[in-house]
């Protein structure tokens, strides 16, 4: 005898279920259940996870079940020889059947319905029913009524679960039973409250009256009883209460767990038929997710088959890309790829991407393909990417392998501001019934978990802020006891310990569904027969319930339509080039391998350059000295957590600088790692090492890659390690080499960066570097107009532009636009005019009015008010930004004048100042603003200044400092520097070392703070804005570091600038400053915020 559990709520019923579908499956195997149905509330999202878990388990079992000693491989042909007899599986590893289904919660029914489709047609009806309910409702909701159930549920087994009383349930069940005779059952779930016998007897009575046979269900919420605490916490989150308020809403016990046959038999001892019926229902539900054969749109245009069209377009591309005739190698490659695509039937997919890219081109939206398939010669010829396969060492089989049976992957990046146009075009072309975005499951990550669990457990906000603040950077490791102690909390405190354990448990739980950034699923038939479709939070978007991994599992093709800020920036730069320089550029038209551009990168002059502008990259550039495109590809890929943790950076640099010889691990692997000097950097290389070195098949190698990505969770690395090393030994490598190889692959398991992505990014990095090198004004202007993006704040971008001899002109009411603009100077160079967008709190609409009504210019502030019709507050903001200098008004005078304008709209009688009848005021002589005040005002209004760096003003009062531009030549030894903090980072890969970047009027300095020093100057390092650092100077090439020994907080000195709001001088952004941000200080930084502040300051002056 066995039992099948038909009612299981996984954690995809958000904030209710307390176990992952995978955990439920594994537990079901342990309990020996014959089947398990994952039935989430109005959702099929959890089912796919369970399906995938089962699929992987099945494959693992097939892999491991062969008897090792019977398995022999012929050394020459690498074919298996001999007989290997399958052995019978032990009972414990009998895999349960997965029943697809969901729990339908209706708006007008006293019962919940478990819906289990019997076959594919019924499944399609179920997804259409869910789509109907979801499309009707808000995001995340599903509105279904009994009428819907009566309309479209044939072929679906319906199990009624009474919610409260049994009597209310009778009419509903009878109604449905009359409509679907033979498909309706009454689910009886034990309640473990002491009255189960009576309850089950009542259920049996109801079943009799409704003529719906009774079936045993567990109404399972968790896979083991120890998840009860988590279930209670989730209840609290759902109800927005703390754990101390939960009362009887808590689970009284842990019995709503998955149970085996013996346990269920004890409960249902009086009703054995109800148990048996679970098996009968299991037998009737024959639908399997495998059946979801998915049909891609055929993309037939004008009677031309996709393959023929693809071949034709490829030929056109050959002529375009190689006007002088392509080399034979290219022809061979094209033939090979076309053959493979035809064989696998992916030609239509390539055409879809081609059409999307074609549309974007026609709308002059900049785009670039990346992803595993994107760097094929086909994509190059079709114009999907501009990286030619010659430039990198891609292997086509990596992404389209016959064995894997997995779809190719092409992501296309578009300008982030215009991606919506592309998305709507796709909806329009294929229709909403055939195209949908896939979902992204938003999981609890460390910060969210700490915040929400902390709230439930009654920790105060500052403690939770402290807990999450202690985790600098993104990690899912949960809270570390040492850090907790550091925070002044006691990790042995019972409540805190519970909280921390629960935080660890909840990390990885799905929180809600959100839309994927741009993964489109397109079908030939109806999409809603494949998966339920729901509304996204954004208007005009519809998404399916599954995320991209689920789609991969089911073998569904998707096209990624992504947004990339840098593309917007580059397009802006191209537009500016066209308007001001008369060059019509495109990514493909940028001259390649430009020496001046690489010279610039070699000296780490990379502020604003895509992907290589971060502090770590800037340190790396002068050592790497990129001279060619492939160097950039490596540069992009190597400064990442994976390669850094895998210890690949140092060997590579040594080899690159010729200090060490490349070690390619023998001739066979040399081909694989030659281009990266014997250091595996890319995911593809790891796979090839496994194939070439350890004798893996392509499929096994791919499996290795996948399990590497999850080995920390599953702990399966050991078996792979043995297999890998044994394979390498068998191919004649030494143990040491094998271990090193494996270690390196292991190192970047989590972060493996595919070469194709690196190549696509490197292309954009090159283009942006080229623009910066040759047209710094254009580049700075485009970059400023694309903010917020990248690593640096506008202040640094402006400073960098001025260092490159670009004249930067201040904001002016009579000259500026919303965007920053370029102005031609008399000597022919371009000057950058700051736009209104740099003013804090300024709206684009207001800027528009000012520009439109400008005419020949405004004579005074009042005319701006009268003609542009902007509110006085806007004028005040302009005055604060010193935008009236053009009219001969200092900032203070302008502010004085503007404050006199108080009305929202001009009064008609006093509207005409022509006759000099306007109000005459006595002259008020305001004291002149000195430079310090002006500088602070600039920061208050724009977060940048063109006048003077604060350090320049403070330097005379701070003796003994070395200016930053002297650091490169200063004698090595002890020096002191002082500057504003512009970046402050503690990378997870640097074991507690903190990197600070300080800025003074001459440049920047890089400060390294070792953990010991940090402990001593903790407060200063965390909170200071202006620091004086004394320490040892280190130089390596042109990279200069200051190892901090003494750190002093000079932030109070900023008040010497003589302005009440000196706290505005704070340039760091969350991107460049990973220090925990203090809670928003009630000390307001701007008059507009003053009213909101909490504690009035009563400082004694």
């Amino acid at each position: 005898m066995s039992y099948a559990e038909l009612c299981v709520t996984s954690n995809f019923t958000f904030l209710t279920g307390a176990s992952h579908p995978e955990e439920l499956i594994v537990r079901a195997i342990e309990l020996g259940l014959s089947a398990i149905a994952i039935t989430d509330r109005n959702s099929l999202a959890g089912v796919v996870r369970a399906y995938r878990a089962l699929k992987e388990l099945r494959r693992d079992m097939e892999n491991t079940i062969r008897i090792r000693s019977q398995h022999q491989v012929d050394q020459c042909s690498r074919q298996e020889v001999g007989q290997s007899s399958p052995i019978t599986r032990p009972d414990t590893t009998h895999l349960p059947k997965l029943i697809v289904g969901c729990r339908l919660v209706l708006r007008d029914s006293a019962v919940d319905w478990i819906a289990l489709p019997c076959n594919r047609a019924a499944y399609q009806r179920l997804t259409r029913l869910l789509t109907l309910g979801k499309r009707r409702a808000e995001k995340g909701e599903c509105h279904l009524d009994r009428a819907d159930l009566l309309n479209g549920c044939s072929g679906i087994i319906l199990i009624a679960l009474p919610k409260d009383g049994l009597n209310d349930a009778l009419p509903d069940i009878q109604q449905i039973q009359r409509r679907y005779p033979g498909y309706v059952f009454l689910g009886a779930a034990p309640r473990y409250n002491g009255s189960d016998r009576a309850w089950l007897d009542q259920c049996a009575g109801l079943a009799l009256r409704a003529s719906a046979p009774m079936v045993a269900v567990g109404d399972v919420l968790m896979h083991r009883a120890n998840r009860r605490q988590l279930a209670d916490v989730l209840t609290c989150m759902r109800e927005h209460i703390t754990i101390d308020q939960i009362g009887t809403r808590a689970l009284p016990n842990g019995e709503r767990r998955l149970k085996g046959h013996a346990d269920m038999l004890r409960v249902f001892r009086d009703h054995p038929a109800a148990l048996r019926r679970t098996l009968e229902i299991t037998a009737r539900c024959s639908f399997d997710m495998r059946e979801l054969s998915y049909e891609y749109p055929d993309e037939i245009s004008e009677g031309e088959t996709p393959q023929a069209r693809l071949e034709r377009l490829t030929r056109d591309g050959l002529n375009r890309r190689y006007p002088t005739g392509a080399p034979q190698r290219v022809h061979d490659l094209v033939d090979k790829e076309l053959k493979l695509v035809a064989e696998l039937g992916f030609s239509a997919y390539f055409l879809t991407v081609y059409d999307i890219v074609g549309f974007a081109r026609s709308q002059s939206i900049l785009c670039q393909g990346r992803g595993s398939a994107a760097n094929s010669i086909l994509c190059y010829l079709l114009g999907i990417t501009d990286v030619s396969p010659d430039q990198i060492a891609m292997v086509f089989e990596r992404f389209i392998s016959k064995h894997r049976g997995e779809p190719p992957d092409i992501d296309v990046d578009f300008e982030h501001e215009r991606r919506e146009e592309v998305i709507q075009w796709i909806y329009e072309k294929y229709g909403r019934h055939r195209a949908g975005l896939c979902a992204t499951v938003i999981h609890f990550r460390s910060r969210a978990a700490i915040r929400e669990v902390g709230k439930v457990m009654g920790l105060s906000q500052d403690v939770t802020a402290g807990l999450s603040g202690q985790i600098w950077g993104q990690s899912n490791g949960g809270a570390d006891p040492d850090r907790i102690r550091e925070l002044g909390l006691d990790p042995t405190d019972r409540r805190l310990a519970q909280t921390i354990r629960l935080i660890g448990e909840i990390i990885g739980f799905p929180r809600h569904l959100s839309q994927h950034v741009g993964g489109f699923v397109i079908t030939k038939g109806r999409l809603d027969e494949l998966a339920p479709i729901e509304n996204a939070a954004m208007e005009d978007r519809t998404i399916i319930e599954w995320d991209k991994d689920d789609i991969d599992t089911l073998g569904i093709l998707k096209v990624d339509v992504l947004g990339l800020g840098m593309l917007s920036c580059i397009r802006r730069a191209f537009d500016l080039m066209r308007d001001h320089e008369g060059h019509d550029l495109s990514i493909a038209a940028i001259p390649q391998e430009d020496g001046a551009t690489y010279d610039m990168l070699c000296i780490a002059d990379a502020v604003g350059v895509f992907q290589v502008e971060s502090r770590a990259q800037m340190n790396f550039l002068p050592r790497m000295k990129p001279r060619t495109f492939y160097d950039l590809v490596i540069e992009v890929a190597i400064v990442r957590p994976g390669p850094i943790q895998g210890g690949m950076v140092q060997p590579y640099i040594k080899r690159r600088q010729g200090l060490e010889k490349a070690e390619p691990f023998g001739p066979a692997l040399e081909a694989v790692t030659r281009r990266t000097l014997g250091v595996p950097l890319f995911q593809e290389q790891a796979l090839q090492i496994a194939v070439v070195g350890a004798g893996y098949s392509a499929e096994e190698a791919d499996h290795l890659r996948r399990s590497l990505a999850s080995f920390r969770r599953m702990g399966t690395i050991g078996e792979h390690r043995d297999k890998f090393i044994a394979g390498m030994r068998a191919n004649g490598y030494s143990q040491e080499v094998a271990e090193r190889c494996f270690g390196q692959i292991e190192g970047f398991a989590d972060y493996g960066f595919p070469e194709s992505h690196a190549a696509a990014f490197a292309m954009l990095a090159y283009v942006s570097a080229w623009l910066k090198c040759h047209y710094p004004a254009v580049f700075a202007c485009a970059l400023l107009n694309s903010q917020p993006m990248g690593f640096y704040a506008p202040a640094q971008i402006v400073r960098d532009a001025r260092e490159h001899q670009v004249e930067v002109r201040p904001i002016c009411v009579n000259a500026s636009h919303w965007d920053n603009t370029l102005e031609r100077r008399a000597d022919g160079a371009l000057a950058l005019r700051l736009g209104f967008r740099q003013i804090k709190g300024f709206k684009e609409e207001e800027a528009g009015w000012i520009v439109v009504a400008r005419g020949n210019g405004y004579p005074d502030p009042e005319s701006v008010w009268l003609r542009a019709g902007v509110a006085p507050a806007v004028l005040e903001r302009l005055a604060e930004a010193d935008a009236f200098t053009d009219m001969g008004l200092t900032r203070r005078d302008a502010l004085w004048q503007v404050r006199a304008i108080r009305g929202q709209a001009p009064l008609p009688l006093f509207n005409d100042p022509i006759d000099g009848e306007s109000i005459h005021e006595p002259h008020v002589a305001l004291p002149l603003m000195h430079l310090g005040e002006e500088v602070v005002e600039d920061y208050v209004s724009m977060r940048l200044t063109l006048r003077a760096h604060p350090m320049e003003l403070l330097r005379p009062t701070l003796p003994g400092l070395t200016p930053h531009d002297k650091l490169a030549t200063a004698p090595l030894g002890r020096v002191s520097v002082c500057g504003l903090v512009i970046t402050r980072q503690r990378p997870g890969t640097a074991s507690g070392v903190i990197f600070l970047t300080l800025e003074d009027e001459t440049g920047v300095s890089n400060v390294v703070v070792w953990p010991k020093t940090y402990e001593r100057f903790r407060r200063v390092v965390m909170g200071g804005r202006l620091l004086r650092v004394t320490g040892h100077l280190q130089r390596e090439g042109i990279v200069v570091h200051l190892i901090a020994q003494q750190i002093e907080d000079l932030s109070p000195r900023l008040s010497d600038l003589g302005h009440p709001m000196e706290s505005a001088i704070d340039q760091t952004t969350p991107k460049t400053d990973t220090a925990p941000r203090p809670l928003p200080l009630p000390r307001a930084t701007h008059p507009r915020d003053q009213a909101k502040r909490l504690f009035p300051s009563r400082d004694f002056h």
Binding site: G194, A250, E255, W896, E921, P1087, L1094, S1097
Partner: protein, 481 residues
């Protein structure tokens, strides 16, 4: 008179703490610093900073939760104390007092001597105070907060001109705006033309300026003393009979109740003091279950207390005081008004006078699966009857601490001894499994989950038994009716 650290000084007066100390105040679910001592300020902490940040900056910071109500009460205590200098004293904000010392300085010799006396006494009391003296309220405030000193009579300019504009008691927004315009001091502001200022900042700024400089009057509003609920009666001849005392009490009670009614208040605790001719005083305290001002209902409640009084040679003075008073608004009387509640209240009072009011208790429902925690016991006089009970599962009428019985296995024992009775099980229903509330650590539930059984014994008793599977054992915890 400004007390910049009133709240922390108040706490530190009672128990001295060395080193940095701060009071924290919970706002928007975050602890922030509310008031800190000098040591803490020297560590770079400031008001409004989040407590977590403060502790990261200064790990040895000691702290305590702020008590704004207590602080306000303390300020009122100070206000009363300050009336030793002058009769007109008002409260200024949360931590200041304003005194109108016109005409009372000579009592202390001179202005300077009076200020010195104030400072000396406040320092001795452990309070940090800043005192400003001026012709106007505005000038005194400005000097207390920003300069500390005395403005010469009739010429406030000299003392005020150098002070920042913030000293004018104007909104912070205006302060910042003036500072940005370069008008930083009161002197600069005064030199500027008035009409443009009024146009830009409204009349409030100029009003404050004029008030500070004495061009506009400003009053001090002294606080009224709170009403005193006490009445007394002197008797020409001593009395000693019970009825006489009660008659006297009755007359006093009428007067007191009239006073209470006028203030819409009700007495919660009454104190009847009887002074005998030998100057001994005897007190009868009456604690009421609910606020009352109905003389007819209160009077009989005194009978017991008065009966125990030893009149000695006679009583010549009776005082009646309502020691504790609660608001009791006047209500519409209707024919359906609940006399029963009043009767219950009187009963509780009556019993309370004998056994103590706190010992009269009532059960209130509580939200928990755990039987012991599904109710709470509250003093009846200080709580309202709760919601009606909703029993999700039948619960025994009597619940007692678990009493172990012999038994093995997960089903109730057929025969067991409990309270020296030999019982045998006739019918058992269950189990109802209840797991401990994991977020609390309850010693009674150390033995883990419990399976509750409803057991009917052949002897007639219906008991509530439980079994602890994780720590095998059987217990009786309750008895059904």
């Amino acid at each position: 008179m400004w007390f910049p650290r009133l709240a922390s000084d108040r706490v530190l007066r009672t128990h001295l703490i060395e080193g940095p100390f701060a009071l924290t105040f919970r706002q928007a679910n975050a602890d922030r610093l509310h008031c800190l001592n000098t040591a803490a300020e020297q560590c770079g902490l400031h008001r409004g900073m989040s407590f977590a940040d403060a502790r990261a900056f200064c790990p040895d910071l000691q702290s305590q939760a702020a008590d704004p109500i207590g602080d306000r009460r303390f300020l009122h205590v100070l206000r009363r104390w300050v009336t030793r200098y002058c009769p007109w004293v008002g409260v200024e904000g949360e931590n200041g007092l304003v005194l109108d010392v016109t005409g009372s300085t000579h009592l202390f010799g001179s202005e300077a001597m009076m200020l010195a006396d104030m400072r000396q006494r406040l320092v001795r009391a452990g309070l940090d105070a800043r005192i400003g003296l001026g012709d106007t309220r505005g000038a005194a405030w400005a000097l207390a907060h920003y300069g500390e000193g005395t403005a010469e009579a009739g010429a406030p300019h000299a003392a005020l001109a150098g002070l920042p504009v913030a000293a004018l008691r104007i909104e912070d927004e205006t302060v910042i705006a003036l500072q940005r315009l370069g008008l930083r001091t009161i002197g600069a502001l005064e030199r500027a033309a008035r009409s443009p200022l009024a146009r830009r900042f409204g009349p409030a700024l100029l009003l404050r300026l004029d008030q500070a400089l004495g061009r506009q009057p400003e009053q001090i509003t002294p606080l009224v003393e709170p009403p005193h609920y006490g009445v007394r009666m002197n008797l020409p001849e001593p009395i000693g009979l019970f009825d006489d005392v009660m008659a006297g009490a009755s007359r006093l009670l009428d007067r007191l109740c009239a006073k209470l009614k006028a203030q819409e208040a009700g007495a919660r605790v009454l104190c009847l003091t009887l002074r005998r001719v030998d100057q001994e005083a005897q007190t009868v305290e009456l604690r009421l279950a609910s606020p009352l001002r109905d003389a007819i209902r209160i009077l009989p409640l005194f009978e017991r207390g008065v009966g125990e009084i030893d009149a000695g040679f006679g009583i010549d003075q009776i005082r009646l005081e309502a020691v504790q008073v609660e608001p009791l608004p006047v209500q519409q009387i209707s024919h359906v008004s609940s006399g029963r509640v009043d009767q219950l209240g009187d009963l509780i009072t009556r019993i309370g006078t004998r056994i103590g009011l706190e010992n009269v208790q009532r059960f209130l429902p509580a939200d928990s699966h755990i039987p012991e925690r599904s109710f709470i016991i509250a003093a009846a006089a200080y709580s309202e009857p709760g919601e009606p009970w909703v029993a999700q599962r039948p619960r025994p009428v009597r619940l007692f601490p678990p009493e172990p019985i012999a038994g093995t296995g997960s089903r109730p024992p057929r025969q067991f001894r409990w309270r020296r009775m030999s019982l045998s099980t006739a019918r058992a229903t269950g189990p109802e499994r209840i797991a401990p509330e994991w977020w609390l650590s309850d010693d009674n539930w150390r033995s883990g989950i419990r399976d509750y059984w409803h057991v009917e014994t052949r002897q007639g008793r219906r008991l509530w038994l439980f079994y602890t599977p994780q720590n095998p054992g059987w217990f009786v915890q309750g008895e059904f009716a």
